[in-house]
């Protein structure tokens, strides 16, 4: 069975979880440039967290681990979301410049806020569900930069500790949604490899609650 493992922020804790579930991930902790690792009982395929839904949906990986933030942003992917693994906690926030009322003024006088984000769907859905209109500005890199130089009135971004915001003189205005790592499965694999997937789910559930 192939498990898609997210590199980046979730990598370390994902390996810890797999260790706790009885798999040996020592090989992945080295500085190997390989992307695929065969360990007893599993094939681990490492990739960017945002690629995990793509690989799992197509069946190139049977199961995977990625953040709920990624799943929400790619909510049209057909996946089975089997477990909340509890780690990798972060939150989406609406932030704006500290002590600046630009956001509120734009909303009041222009009827519309300009929001910079790299998560357009989350942002759009949030403002729609709260009955407010926005002009969406999609940026890829450091979103914090945008309002500092006048691109947008506020930002929607993932916040882990809040330090990046603070250092850029931004403050949280609204908390949108909290996210943790999730265990997902391919739709066909979930049916045809039922016993294996149920067993792995049980192991991960137990390890994540420890």
């Amino acid at each position: 069975m192939k498990l898609a493992v997210p590199r980046g922020a979730l990598f370390g804790e994902t390996l810890d979880l797999l260790d706790a579930a009885g798999f040996d991930t020592a090989e992945l902790r080295g500085d190997s440039r390989s992307l695929i690792f065969e360990i007893p009982g599993l094939t681990l395929v490492t990739m960017r967290p945002s690629d995990v839904p793509t690989y799992v949906e197509s069946g190139a990986a049977d199961v995977g681990i990625t953040g709920k933030d990624v799943l929400l942003e790619q909510s049209d992917r057909v996946l089975y979301e089997l477990l909340d693994l509890g780690y990798g906690r972060c939150r989406w926030d609406l932030a704006a410049r500290t002590g600046n009322d630009r956001l509120a003024e734009a909303q009041r006088r222009l009827g519309m806020m300009r929001i910079a984000t790299s998560y357009p769907r989350i942002a759009e859905r949030y403002f729609e569900s709260t009955g407010r209109q926005i002009e969406l500005i999609e940026v890829r890199g450091s979103v914090e930069l945008a309002p500092l130089v006048g691109l947008g009135d506020g930002i929607v971004d993932l916040v882990a500790t809040g330090r990046t915001l603070e250092e850029n003189e931004l403050e949280i205005r609204e908390e949108i949604v909290e996210c943790t790592a999730r265990f997902v499965a391919n739709r066909v694999a979930h049916k045809l490899r039922a016993a294996e997937i149920d067993e792995l789910t049980a192991k991960l559930r137990e390890a994540s609650q420890r």
């Binding site: 197509s58 069946g59 709920k68 049209d76 979301e81 477990l83 999730r182 049916k191």
Partner: protein, 330 residues
């Protein structure tokens, strides 16, 4: 010079067409041999006809006006046009009616996802047979179709469309809470499902039972385990599934059928048994179907009905993957 075609459509060139045609002919031959006569319907219907199937989910994505201002729709599935055909052409006939088709249907696509806007389907509809026998017969035809396509490893998932509607009713989950629970079910978000059940005021134990129920899939032992999870709605669903499964076993046709209490189809007209087709070589569903006992009534003919459709391009992909596997390649 390159002249583009719309995303999600494609041209078929001779090498592929030869294989596709062979598959199509083999399938139609299987259907005809079992008494299913082939029909064709127009690719465009009145929008009112397509919406009658299911206003929300089966509604066509492509609608336009004709020269006299009528709203037309490009068909999004074949079951609804065939229900319309039977109601208008066979109103005074002798049911059951056995019909099959080979037709393109049209769906919206999400950009850059490799999805097809134009989808070739082959399938059957059995209209007016008794529910228990009808389901079994349709599954047998589907098995014969998979056999002739050479997909020996393909599996048919058998579930029940009414299970969760009835279960939620029994648990007293209604209105908005019910819709949001069903939405989590439909997207297979088990984390969200448990959360929403708790929000709807269901006890933690019952919520976890509900989530466990969606994970039950396998042979007849699944029914026993479901029975252990309890409730009248569960009991009703497993007796319906059990009846079908036992009949399949008696006929020696249960081998590739997997009972699946987590199965859901996104088309709103299904009731009772629902089917889905998988092959281990491809990550996508190859087809599906089930009972749609209420649909004919919406066209003024009170007949029970069942059918299935196979997505031919995906079946063809599975054929190629399976033959590569047979040659020991990957």
């Amino acid at each position: 010079m390159i002249h583009p075609i719309p995303p999600g459509t494609r041209d078929v060139l001779p090498d592929e067409m030869r294989e596709l045609r062979k598959l199509q002919l083999a399938l139609i031959e299987v259907f005809e041999a079992r008494g299913y006569g082939e029909v064709a319907t127009p690719a465009i219907e009145y929008d009112e006809v397509m919406s009658r199937g299911d206003g929300r989910t089966a509604r066509s994505s492509y609608r336009f006006f004709d020269e006299s201002g009528e709203l037309l729709a490009l068909r999004s599935d074949m079951t609804v046009p065939i229900a319309r055909l039977v109601a208008s052409r066979f109103a005074s006939g002798e049911p059951p009616y056995r019909l099959c088709y080979l037709a393109s249907t049209y769906r919206v696509v999400r950009p850059q996802r490799g999805q097809m806007r134009e989808l070739l389907q082959a399938g059957v509809e059995l209209i007016g047979a008794s529910p228990a026998e009808g389901t079994v017969e349709v599954i047998e035809v589907l098995e014969a179709a998979l056999d002739v396509a050479g997909l020996d490893r393909a599996v048919i998932g058998l579930g029940d469309a009414d299970l969760y509607r009835q279960l939620l009713e029994e648990l007293g989950v209604e209105a908005e809470a019910r819709d949001s629970v069903l939405a989590s079910l439909a997207t297979h978000d088990l984390v969200g499902l448990e959360q929403k059940l708790l929000e709807a005021g269901i006890g933690a134990e019952q919520a976890s039972t509900c989530v466990q129920l969606t994970q039950l899939r396998g042979g007849s032992e699944v029914l026993e385990r479901a029975r252990g999870l309890g409730g009248a709605a569960v009991e009703r669903a497993i007796s319906r599934i059990g009846e079908t499964y036992e009949e399949l076993e008696r006929r020696g046709a249960a081998g590739r059928v997997q009972i699946d209490l987590g199965l859901l189809r996104d088309l709103g007209y299904y009731s009772g048994a629902i089917l889905e087709v998988y092959d281990p070589a491809v990550g996508h569903v190859l087809g599906g179907g089930g009972r749609y006992d209420g649909l004919m009534k919406r066209f003024g003919l009170d007949l029970s009905a069942a059918g299935f459709a196979l997505y031919l391009e995906r079946v063809h992909t599975a054929q190629m993957e399976e033959s590569r596997r047979g040659r020991g390649e990957s």
